[in-house]
Structure formats: structure tokens, C-alpha cells
């Protein structure tokens, strides 16, 4: 029996080693695409939002503005949706079980731009003491428009669409300045730049791709990239309007 147990242990060890080796090969065949998006030129000044008294009270001492161009001290540009537009043809990716999230805070959608995959659930929360209507307005055929009431602190509303659409707009008609935009694609290789302008698309398999950086007001910039065994750094510059 001890002999048999030893043999079994050896076999198990071999299997673990083989799995580890296979996994390491797998990791070696995928890489992260990282980079930074900056803005060229000087964006137009943002406009003050005409908040009503109910929403204005939620921003004491401040005057919230539009966030068309969120620019850092070194021209870093936030809210840019970076995603693969070519190179993934014929491949399918299951929708993730986790949800993409939008919240309404101080009568403003947070975040302003979010990424999601087709079929993935998009949850919309209301953290405000005010009522909102959540009104996604897709324009791609097959993606259905909806409009739902959401009272203060009520449960999250859930949405899902099957067709890619960049950007799918959410609006609130109660507060006409409230918008959020979803970059909806049919694969998991996307990212949204943060306030430092950086992005990271993880585990992109080896291959040739076209990477697009899409800013809602600044427009699109694309670059062809090749991923082969190591991380790739791609920087974009988007022209201010």
C-alpha cells in the first residue's frame, strides 16, 4: 500500500507539473496592452450644469460642470474607451458573470464612461435622494431602447444588450444634463482611461490587432499593434475640440 500511495503521489506531482507547464505556455502566449492617452491642444471650457435646487443641494459650494474633456496636469485624457476593433474576427467570448456598474450620485452618472461586453448585465444604481428615470437610448438595430423609473435608494435596474455599440448612451430626462456612455463590445479586450490617462487591456492573445482609442468628443484614433510574447505599450494623442 505505501508503494501504491507513492506511485499515486508521483503521478499527481507529474500532473501538477504538466498543468503548470501548460499554464506557463498559455501565459506566455498572451500579454497586456498598456498605454496612455493624452490630449493635443486646449479643450473648450466646460459648461456649468443648470442643476435644479434639489440636485444643487447635493453639491454644496460647487458648480458642477460638463465633463467633455477630463484632462490631467500633463494633458492626460480620461474617459477614453480603448478597445480592439480588428483581429478578433471569428472568435466568440462568453459574457462575464460580473456586472458593469453605473451609479447616480449628486444627479450625475458615475462613471461617465464605462466598458461592457455584449450579453453582460449592466446595473444602474441610484444613490441619490432624488428620483431619476434611467433611459438608455441605443441606436444600433437589435439593441432595444428602455426607460425605467428609479425612486431614491431603490434596487438597481438591470440592462443587457446583444449588439456591440460604442457608445450606448444612458440619459435621465428628469435632469437633462445627466448622461453616461457605455462602450459595448463583443469581447473582453477593452479599457477606459482613468484620470491619469492610462489604460490596461489584460491577457490579449498573440496576434495582429487594430487598437482604437475613442473619446466621445475628441473622436477616434487607431493603431495597428502586434502582440507576441510580451507586453505592448501603445500611446495615443487625441485632438481637443
Amino acid at each position: 500500500m505505501p508503494l501504491f500511495e507513492n506511485k499515486k503521489m508521483k503521478t499527481t506531482n507529474w500532473l501538477i507539473a504538466l498543468t503548470a507547464a501548460f499554464a506557463s505556455v498559455q501565459v506566455a502566449s498572451a500579454a497586456d496592452v498598456v498605454g496612455k492617452v493624452t490630449v493635443a491642444g486646449t479643450p473648450s471650457p466646460e459648461k456649468v450644469l443648470p442643476m435644479d435646487p434639489t440636485c444643487g443641494k447635493l453639491h454644496p459650494g460647487e458648480k458642477p460642470t460638463t465633463t467633455f474633456f477630463v484632462v490631467g496636469p500633463n494633458k492626460e485624457l480620461a474617459d477614453v474607451f480603448v478597445h480592439i476593433t480588428k483581429g478578433l474576427e471569428g472568435k466568440t467570448f462568453p459574457a462575464p458573470a460580473s456586472s458593469a456598474k453605473l451609479d447616480q450620485v449628486g444627479c450625475i452618472y458615475v462613471p461617465y464612461v464605462v466598458g461592457a461586453q455584449t450579453g453582460q448585465t449592466i446595473e444602474v444604481h441610484n444613490s441619490d435622494p432624488a428620483l431619476h428615470n434611467v433611459h438608455p437610448t441605443p441606436t444600433v438595430a437589435g439593441n432595444k431602447e428602455a426607460n425605467k423609473a428609479q425612486l431614491p435608494k431603490s434596487p438597481a435596474l438591470k440592462f443587457s444588450w446583444d449588439k456591440p455599440e460604442v457608445f450606448l448612451r444612458f440619459k435621465c430626462d428628469v435632469h437633462p444634463w445627466m448622461f453616461a456612455y457605455v462602450g459595448l463590445v463583443d469581447h473582453p479586450y477593452y479599457a477606459v482611461t482613468g484620470k491619469d490617462g492610462t489604460f490596461k487591456i489584460a491577457n490579449l492573445p498573440d496576434g495582429n490587432y487594430t487598437l482604437e482609442a475613442y473619446h466621445r468628443k475628441g473622436g477616434q484614433v487607431t493603431k495597428d499593434i502586434t502582440v507576441k510574447g510580451g507586453n505592448v505599450t501603445v500611446n495615443f494623442e487625441i485632438q481637443a475640440k
Partner: protein, 417 residues
């Protein structure tokens, strides 16, 4: 024409309904100007409440415009129902009378019964009988219009047709919310103008002046009346164009005036559209939809229509003064109409210069309705004068025709007529 005895009380009630309806058009204009048409996502309920019991504390932002529009529309529905019943009772008798009253009662009760019209997950669920009514009401409306024509604008048929129209209009407003269709919104806006026209016509036809009119001191020529009638049709088309522009939710398709993107006729190729959509003027917190070539064509058609209508009314005013003289009531009315259309043109320009400020844009809608009603009522008065003068005093009519360049018949011919 109905031979029913004139009632001043009824006449003033119809006027009140028409004036109140103009106010409703203003409120509807505010809803669209504030982009608040979808601020209440459920219908016929309001955020799950029976709309009459929706807490006042929640009438905020876009909800305020949309909800007050709905409540006020219900009030107009009530006024129209009373008006229709009143006119029907006065204009009919026997079984027809009770059949008509029963129709009004059943339809009012059907609208009052909300059935399963509860919101589901915050979205709209249309009650089944509302869906049925959405198909029935246009048929009844057409039936009413046919009856109005057949019975030569009998007051009771005008009232019942207005009643059918107001129900259909209410359903259209609700369906625009429930079906997310801008096209329904355009039709809703256009029907509102036609409904006001119908009420104004009913107000005129129930007036003491219309019923008791015997002799005409001034009789406009047939050509002038035809021209003013055509202008009224053109204004209706112009109002529909305006409603179509407003319900594109694309903001100002052309942001400058009197030029268009600095030209007489703007470019509409892809590069130009990209430039327009990424210009600084599009950095608006309202986030309008992107401008397309069709938006620009629509905008330019509205401008061209405005110019043509303005020129036509100016020419009409000059023609009236030439044919009837300065002091004639119809000349004064035509000059007033020219003043109204000029003011409307100025408001149109200010709508552009203020980047579609909600109050200016709404005033433009309301004045458009006033211009249509003013022109239509004065035209109808002209037709009435002409009709009476031809029936009572053909010679007077003939003399007026001479004044306006129409060949006069011989006196002997008139005697034999």
C-alpha cells in the same frame, strides 16, 4: 350649417376651451423644449402612481413639465367632453341624441378605467383597452370629419369630432412615451394644432355674429379668400415641419442665421457633417443627437417655408388694402396677420441666436398656433361674408369683385339668378 339657436354661454365655453388648449400647446412646447418628454417613463401611471395622486414634492426637473402637461391635458379632455356633450344635446334629438351621449359617456369611462395600466419595473404597461382605443379612435375621428363635411359643419358634429380628436391626442401622447417613437411625437404635435383649429372654428360657428349674420359691408374677393385659405394650409405644413425639427432631438441643425454655416446653402457631405458635429457649438450639456443631412434639409425647408409664408401674407395684406381700402376690417385683419407672421419670423431667428432657449422656442410654437388660428378665423369670416352677400345681395358681391379685378356680371344676370 346647424339651425340651432345661438347660445352665448356655450359660445364662451368653447372660446374658453380653445384658449385653454392654446395653453396646453404651450405646455407641450415646454416639454419638448426642455427635452422632458420621457421624464415620466410610465403611462398612464406616473412613477407607479395614479397620475392625479402623484405627490407634488416629486414634481421636479423634467417631471414637472411632463406631469403638468399630462394633468392639464386631462383638464382639456374634461372641457372638451363637456363641450361636445353640450353641443350634441343642443343639436340633436331622439335616439341620435342618446346614442351620441352614450358614446361620450362610454369613452370617458373607458379612459377613466386604467385597468392593468400599472408600471412594471418602472416601465410602462399599456392597458389592453387603451390599445384597442388607439385603433378605434382614428376611425371615429375620420368618421367625425366626414360627418362634419356631410352636415356642412353642424355644431354638434364639430363638437363630437373634437371629442374624438382629444381622446386620440391623449392616446398619442401616451403611446409616444410607451413606444419610444419620436414619429408619434410629431403626429401628436401636429394633431394639437389641428385640434385647436377645430375648436376655434367651433367657437366662431357658435358665435352670435356667425349665426345672426345677415348683411356684409365688405366682401373680400374669392381669389383673396382662396389665397388666405392656401396660406393657412401652408402654415399647417410649416407647423408640421417645425414639429418634425423639434422631435429630432438634434438641437439646432443649423446654428447660425441668416446664413447657414456661413453659406446661403450649407454643405451636407460627410466631412462637413463631421465638422458640424465636432464643432464647439455642439458641446452642449443637453447632448443632442448628431446632426444628419436630413436634419439640415428639414431645417432649411422650414426657413424657406417661413420666407414664402411671410412673403405671401405681406402680398395678401397689400392686396386687401388695394381692393377694400385701409379702413376695411379685412384689410386691418390682414395687416395684423402680417404683423403676427413678422413677429413669428423674429422669434424664429431668436430661437437660433439663443441656441434654442426653451422659453423662446416654446413661444415660437405658441405664436405659430396663434398665427394659424388668426388667419383661419379671418378667412372663415371672409367666406361667411361672401356667402351671405352672394345669397342676400349679389350686386354688392359683384361690386367687390370689380374692386378686386374680377369681371362683374350684368345686373340683369343677377336679377335672373
Amino acid at each position: 350649417m346647424s339651425a340651432v339657436k345661438q347660445s352665448q354661454k356655450l359660445h364662451w365655453f368653447v372660446i374658453m376651451t380653445a384658449v385653454a388648449t392654446l395653453g396646453l400647446i404651450g405646455l407641450g412646447g415646454l416639454v419638448t423644449s426642455h427635452q422632458a418628454g420621457m421624464a415620466v417613463p410610465d403611462w398612464p401611471t406616473t412613477y407607479g402612481y395614479n397620475m392625479f395622486f402623484f405627490p407634488v414634492s416629486q414634481w421636479v426637473g423634467g417631471v414637472f413639465y411632463e406631469h403638468t402637461h399630462r394633468l392639464y391635458a386631462a383638464f382639456i379632455g374634461l372641457l372638451t367632453s363637456i363641450m361636445a356633450g353640450w353641443l350634441w344635446l343642443r343639436g340633436t334629438e331622439g335616439r341620435v341624441r342618446w346614442a351620441g351621449m352614450l358614446t361620450i359617456l362610454v369613452l370617458v369611462m373607458a379612459l377613466g378605467h386604467r385597468g392593468s395600466g400599472q408600471s412594471s419595473g418602472g416601465a410602462s404597461v399599456i392597458p389592453f383597452h387603451f390599445k384597442v382605443l388607439a385603433f378605434v379612435m382614428p376611425v371615429l375621428l375620420v368618421f367625425g370629419i366626414v360627418q362634419c363635411i356631410r352636415h356642412r359643419a353642424a355644431q354638434h358634429w364639430l363638437g363630437l369630432t373634437a371629442f374624438f380628436a382629444v381622446i386620440f391626442q391623449g392616446l398619442l401622447g401616451g403611446l409616444r412615451v410607451a413606444l419610444y417613437k419620436d414619429e408619434v411625437g410629431i403626429f401628436h404635435a401636429a394633431l394639437a394644432q389641428c385640434f385647436l383649429l377645430l375648436l376655434s372654428t367651433t367657437a366662431l360657428l357658435t358665435s352670435r355674429w356667425w349665426v345672426n349674420f345677415k348683411t356684409a359691408k365688405e366682401v373680400p374677393s374669392r381669389r383673396l379668400l382662396q389665397a388666405s385659405g392656401l396660406i393657412c394650409v401652408a402654415i399647417v405644413v410649416q407647423l408640421i415641419l417645425g414639429a418634425s425639427m423639434r422631435h429630432q432631438h438634434a438641437g439646432l441643425a443649423v446654428p447660425d442665421f441668416p446664413l447657414a454655416y456661413g453659406k446661403v446653402w450649407p454643405a451636407t457631405d460627410e466631412a462637413a457633417l463631421f465638422e458640424y458635429n465636432h464643432s464647439e457649438s455642439r458641446l452642449d450639456y443637453r447632448d443632442f443627437k448628431p446632426i444628419t443631412a436630413s436634419h439640415i434639409y428639414l431645417h432649411m425647408a422650414h426657413r424657406a417655408g417661413a420666407l414664402l409664408i411671410w412673403l405671401a401674407i405681406m402680398a395678401l395684406a397689400v392686396s386687401y388694402v388695394r381692393s377694400l381700402g385701409w379702413k376695411a376690417s379685412f384689410s386691418k385683419a390682414a395687416i395684423a396677420w402680417a404683423g403676427l407672421i413678422s413677429l413669428q419670423a423674429v422669434l424664429g431667428a431668436f430661437t437660433i441666436w439663443t441656441n434654442k432657449a426653451a422659453d423662446i422656442a416654446t413661444l415660437h410654437v405658441v405664436l405659430g398656433a396663434v398665427t394659424l388660428i388668426f388667419g383661419s378665423i379671418t378667412s372663415l369670416c371672409g367666406f361667411r361674408c361672401r356667402m351671405v352677400s352672394v345669397n342676400v345681395n349679389p350686386l354688392a358681391s359683384a361690386k367687390t369683385q370689380v374692386a378686386s379685378g374680377v369681371k362683374a356680371p350684368d345686373e340683369a344676370d343677377l336679377v335672373t339668378q
